[in-house]
């Protein structure tokens, strides 16, 4: 398993300091862009935990972002909750819902999770239109912005809010993946049967990590509602769900830092794409994730490690001679039945 170097503490601190001071120098529009990058990074970070470290593929982050966004919108707009409180509450709703959904699914093959999450991606829009009493239906809900303290501008306040939440969650995630629990996650990803043999309750770990990922997405959704000041059924659909998925892999799915790279893609590719053609976003994301999987499966964050490994390798393999099936890269091992 590749070990990714921790960024040097000084470089990291400098980077964070830069991010803290940036909103005071940039105009509101650019601040808003970067805010969204933070928001997507949080959602993708959750995805990295469940898909990258625990090996369970899911496209449902957009669904839970939507849940979080709507929960916040309803709490704040309809019920007058304090803004800051709605953020963790949205996270908790995501956590519980994610856990309930994962519970029956994650005992089994990963394929089922993909199907269920794909269904969820297509479910959110009609569901929010249907529950229009609560959600404002097709018109959506306007979300009043949180009041900025002191002399801060609205956009700066939201930017900093997202940055702080992001730092907290990134630090928590980094601690998690380096802990024994993180080792269990990775064991499940790489060799689930063996992990079970050494006493790891794979189903439980997978369910919990999925719930955590959903919580991250719920929090991201809440912040999204503040950043855009608006939630609607079509804000959280297929394109977002699959773009987050693609962005996560392009950035580096088994990393913490890759989430930020992926989020940058998710925020800026649609802008580049739609300037060419309305449909280009999908083409660019699709092509990018395919190329990434073919050439650098560890993503951009993993390029350094991948290059280092390539340099250490001996003579390359013989070219594929046409009709031979994919040759194994490890010696044959005895087959074993897998529990369904």
């Amino acid at each position: 398993m590749t070990r990714f170097a921790k960024p040097a503490p000084v470089a990291l601190a400098a980077f964070v300091a830069l991010l803290v001071f940036l909103p005071f120098y940039l105009p509101p529009y650019e601040n808003g862009q970067i805010t969204l990058v933070f928001i997507f990074a949080i959602a993708i970070l959750g995805l990295n935990l469940i898909a990258g470290y625990t090996g369970q593929l899911t496209v449902a982050q957009s669904f839970f972002i939507g849940i979080g966004g709507y929960v916040t919108a309803i709490l704040v707009a309809d019920a007058g909750f304090p803004h800051l409180l709605a953020i963790p509450l949205s996270g908790i709703v995501g956590l519980v819902l994610g856990w309930l959904i994962a519970l029956p699914v994650l005992r089994l093959r990963g394929f089922y999770l993909m199907v269920v999450t794909l269904a969820l991606v297509f479910l959110l829009s009609p569901l929010s239109k249907r529950l229009d009493g609560l959600t404002g239906g097709a018109d959506g809900l306007v979300v009043p912005a949180p009041a900025p303290p002191g002399g801060l501008a609205g956009d700066q306040w939201i930017y900093l809010l997202c940055l702080v939440v992001g730092i907290v969650l990134f630090a928590a995630a980094a601690r998690l993946v380096r802990s024994p629990y993180g080792a269990a996650m990775i064991a499940i990803r790489d060799r689930e049967v063996v992990a079970a043999a050494i006493g790891i309750d794979a189903a439980r770990v997978k369910t919990r990590v999925f719930a955590v990922a959903a919580m991250f997405a719920g929090i991201a959704g809440s912040l999204y509602a503040y950043a855009i000041s608006f939630v609607s059924p079509d804000s959280f659909g297929m394109l977002l769900g699959l773009s987050l998925f693609a962005g996560a892999f392009i950035g580096g799915i088994s990393t913490v830092g890759g989430a930020l790279i992926g989020a940058t893609f998710v925020q800026f590719v649609p802008q580049i794409g739609s300037s060419i053609n309305d449909s280009m976003t999908g083409v660019i994301f699709g092509a990018a994730v395919i190329v990434s999987m073919l050439l650098f499966p560890q993503g951009i964050a993993g390029i350094g490690a991948q290059l280092a490994r390539l340099r250490r390798r001996p003579a390359p393999a013989e070219p594929d001679a046409g009709d031979a099936p994919s040759r194994p890269t490890s010696p044959p091992a005895p087959k074993e039945t897998q529990q369904a």
Partner: protein
């Protein structure tokens, strides 16, 4: 007819075979012995085109085997019976044999050879319409050998034919192999854990350890030398 020199190879960055050299004479039987992980299976895979990375020379009657794909090697008359038998479990016994005879194309030879396999292994005729996955271990081994026979091989590579079989079944299988070898002049390279059985059938043998040949000679000589057997084969 099979002559191997400086054969080396492995999987990706792992080197398994180091500088092997041996021959299999026409119609001869050579046993490949040695402990687990010594490279016995890998040797066969190198000869049947299943190994990613090889170097050296392996010639079958003048034709180089090492830089060809499995299909071309099958057409040259090399039949590999893989470890675990490689049964096409979803297909019937007869279909398994038909697939084995793929290189013969659509010629009537296919039907003739299927009949020949049934002669050697009558139980296959009884079960010809059953799904191959339902056969017992011994029957699947007979099916695997038959599948190899279908392509009219000059050389058969057999990987652990006795694996998982009861002793009486193992005897029948090896007797059948002896018959096939005598009647059809098919040369054989047999990888075996059961050294005693292999040495009965073989004319020559060599022992692999960590990808190198550490002992070679006439099968009879090795079989009758108790000290050698104890040292290299553990019995």
């Amino acid at each position: 007819m099979l002559s191997v020199e400086n054969l080396a190879g492995g999987y990706g960055p792992v080197q398994v075979l180091r500088d092997l050299a041996f021959d299999v004479p026409e119609g001869g039987v050579v046993a490949v012995l040695g402990p687990n992980g010594s490279g016995k299976t890998t040797t066969l895979r190198a000869l049947s085109g299943m190994l990613n990375r090889t170097s050296g020379v392996a010639r079958l009657g003048g034709e180089d085997l090492l830089r060809r794909d499995p299909a071309a090697i099958a057409r040259l008359g090399v039949a590999h019976v893989p470890e675990g038998r490689g049964t096409l479990t979803e297909l019937t016994v007869e279909e398994n044999l038909r697939v084995g005879g793929y290189v013969l194309g659509r010629s009537p030879a296919v039907e003739e050879r299927i009949e020949m396999c049934f002669e050697y292994f009558p139980v296959l005729r009884e079960r010809s319409r059953q799904k191959a996955g339902h056969l017992s271990g011994g029957e699947q081994q007979m099916l695997a050998i038959s599948r190899a026979l279908m392509l009219d091989p000059k050389l058969m590579l057999l990987d652990e034919p006795s694996l998982g079989l009861a002793p009486n079944l193992t005897r029948s299988v090896f007797e059948a192999l002896a018959t096939i070898n005598h009647e059809r002049q098919v040369a054989m390279l047999i990888v075996e854990q059961n050294a005693a059985l292999a040495l009965e059938l073989a004319t020559k043998a060599f022992v692999l350890e960590s990808g190198r040949i550490v002992l070679e000679g006439e099968a009879d000589d090795i079989k009758n030398d108790e000290a050698l057997r104890r040292a290299y084969l553990g019995y």
